[in-house]
């Protein structure tokens, strides 16, 4: 008897934490999303899918969805591009390669909030370095046309570090001899990149894509610090909208419903990606 219970003892610490801070709150969020709540976050009136219907028909949430999608697309594309370029640059040995690869991976060690504070100064319309270098006079974070792009670029920068590591690992796994054969056959380095490197990188490209999409959906600190969802909701991504509805407007039910929608979106994206992977990715 004692022996049979034994293995589970090793799981208790982890599962205790999972149960209290993950499973229970997850189901509680589902539960809350079906209710109208009071200021204390207690479920009061059962409304069924009412919160969801209200959300999906409200122009504010539709805007949040649109903004989130644009944000995620820019972030994923830009951060993967940065990661890939830096990884290719560090693919062959050259002097000081260790310095460069450390520098390229560095953004992964930086907190979104710290980075946001630095970008805040860089983008400052009067003293910031961006306007000075580009000789412009743009109020980057207060303009509905540029704010989202700025926040997305910052996020891409933050995520590029880990992408560099993923792509470097992927490039390191490619068999060197295929390049030798290709260059004997007269393939240019551009051709080699598109016809050899990219296809051989596809498993890691795919993995990185999934991780990046999930991560981009969850960006919060930089938006809270730089724009607080503004100007005129142009950077009000779902996560920020959840935060605002729950902790400023005390509409916990609404916020819970948004969290569940976010969860469903992430799950669907992940599942679709894995479906595509089975068909398209070459191993």
């Amino acid at each position: 008897m004692e022996k049979k219970a034994f293995p589970y003892c090793y799981l208790i610490p982890s599962f205790l934490v999972f149960c209290v801070f993950l499973f229970y709150p997850f189901f509680k969020t589902v539960y809350l999303s079906l209710y109208k709540t009071n200021n204390m976050g207690e479920a009061k009136i059962f409304v069924g899918l009412g919160n969801y219907i209200d959300l999906l028909t409200s122009s504010s949430f539709q805007n949040s969805l649109k903004v989130t999608i644009i944000f995620v697309v820019i972030v994923v594309f830009a951060s993967m591009f940065l990661g890939l370029v830096t990884a290719v640059l560090c693919n062959k040995n050259f002097p000081a390669i260790r310095f460069f690869s450390t520098a390229y991976a560095m953004p992964m060690a930086i907190a979104s909030s710290s980075a946001a504070m630095i970008f805040n100064i860089m983008l400052n319309p009067s003293v910031g370095i961006v306007n000075k270098l580009l000789n412009l006079n743009v109020n980057w974070l207060n303009d509905t046309n540029t704010a989202l792009f700025c926040v997305a670029f910052l996020t891409a920068w933050l995520n590029s570090g880990i992408n560099f590591l993923y792509f470097s690992a992927g490039l390191g796994n490619i068999d060197e001899t295929i390049y030798e054969r290709a260059s004997i056959d007269g393939a240019s380095s551009v051709q080699q990149f598109f016809f050899l490197t990219l296809p051989n990188l596809s498993p890691i490209l795919f993995y990185t894509l999934v991780v990046n999409i999930i991560q981009a959906f969850q960006s919060f600190g930089q938006i809270k610090i730089l724009t607080e969802g503004g100007p005129t909701e142009s950077t009000n991504v779902i996560v920020y909208s959840i935060y605002r509805d729950a902790f400023f407007n005390y509409k916990f039910g609404d916020a819970a419903a948004q969290s569940i929608i976010l969860f469903i979106i992430i799950m669907i994206v992940t599942l679709i990606m894995f479906k595509i992977e089975k068909k398209g990715v070459k191993y």
């Binding site: 049979k4 034994f6 589970y8 090793y10 799981l11 610490p13 982890s14 934490v17 999972f18 209290v20 801070f21 993950l22 229970y24 709150p25 997850f26 509680k28 969020t29 976050g41 830096t86 640059l89 062959k92 050259f94 000081a96 460069f100 450390t102 520098a103 390229y104 560095m106 992964m108 060690a109 930086i110 907190a111 979104s112 909030s113 710290s114 504070m117 630095i118 970008f119 100064i121 860089m122 370095i129 000075k132 920068w157 590591l165 993923y166 690992a169 999930i214 969850q218 600190g221 809270k224 996560v239 935060y243 729950a246 902790f247 819970a256 969290s259 976010l262 969860f263 992430i266 799950m267």
Partner: protein, 305 residues
């Protein structure tokens, strides 16, 4: 027979040996030059890209050393003309920065140690022991990776608020005391661990716990290193949770504490940035020191497919 043949072949090419050497030398000289040009190009491109990537950090360091007067000009001011340490001392005097840093070290340290313990125990069970529902339980652990933090954060906040533990170290630490990724990473390492070592240790009367502490963990140091670096950096950089559950300067962690200052007047910009630089430093240092471990741990089979 074959030897003779080879010899005769070499002889027949003997005549052009000098020519051949010359040709070879010429060719290798061309190749060497080509390679040098390529390396030079690569280096130049890298320097350009690294400057772009590091620009925010370099700019932050530069501003941190800039006297306030130099920042507020319309001229291009990439470097401080009269570098000063006063921003750093001002930051330390005006912001409870030392307190923030101590809080963050304590919280991130506890989270890291806690995760290493809980994750290695769970991973041990999943890879060395046999029990009912093992696979189902492991699938459940993996499935937790799909739940974004935002889907639980509201309920978690309500829970801890009801428990009356807001604004304590416990509330900052507890929710992060385990992670599916850590369990997965350790299990990945333990799977390659020779089972015979475990069996012979058991035969010698070694208990499971002793096996973990004195054999398994010392032999999987690189996994622990990777996981430790990753967890510490993430905990140090935590933002949303501390923002929600801390209410006083006493408990604030570095990220939240500093960002609270962000809304202050523009005169305090250099001071804030000096604070940011001081706060970034520990995570960068740990990253640089642990980078090798991190890469080795993260990519040893975990990412291949």
């Amino acid at each position: 027979m074959t030897l003779n043949k080879d010899n005769s072949m070499i002889k027949s090419y003997d005549i052009s040996k000098e020519k051949l050497e010359n040709l070879k030398r010429q060719k290798s000289a061309i190749q060497l030059r080509k390679r040098r040009i390529r390396t030079g190009l690569r280096l130049a491109l890298n320097i350009l890209v690294v400057l772009i990537i590091l620009l925010p950090l370099l700019y932050a360091v530069s501003i941190a050393f800039m006297p306030t007067g130099e920042l507020f000009t319309t001229e291009l001011n990439l470097f401080p003309k009269n570098p000063t340490f006063s921003n750093f001392t001002d930051a330390l005097n005006n912001i409870p920065l030392v307190r923030f840093i101590l809080n963050s070290f304590l919280v991130a340290g506890c989270i890291t140690i806690g995760q290493i313990i809980t994750c290695s125990l769970a991973a041990f069970a999943f890879s060395f022991l046999n029990f009912k529902a093992k696979n189902v339980l492991f699938m459940i652990v993996m499935a937790t990776m799909m739940i974004p933090g935002e889907a639980t954060i509201i309920s978690n906040y309500l829970t801890v608020a009801k428990m009356g533990i807001l604004d304590t170290y416990a509330v900052l630490i507890m929710p992060s005391l385990t992670s599916a990724m850590g369990i997965f990473l350790f299990r990945q390492f333990y799977m390659t661990f020779p089972k015979s070592l475990y069996e012979s240790a058991k035969l010698d009367g070694c208990t499971n716990l002793r096996f973990i502490v004195s054999i398994l963990m010392p032999l999987t140091k690189s996994a622990i290193g990777a996981m430790g670096v990753y967890t510490f950096i993430n905990a140090w950089n935590m933002y949303m949770w501390p923002l929600l559950v801390t209410g006083s300067d006493k408990m604030r962690t570095v990220q939240v504490g500093l960002s609270m200052l962000n809304s202050l007047d523009s005169q305090s910009i250099p001071l804030t940035i000096a604070g940011v630089v001081m706060v970034i430093l520990p995570s960068i240092l740990i990253f640089i020191l642990g980078q090798k471990q991190l890469i080795k741990g993260m990519f040893s089979g975990a990412v291949k497919g």
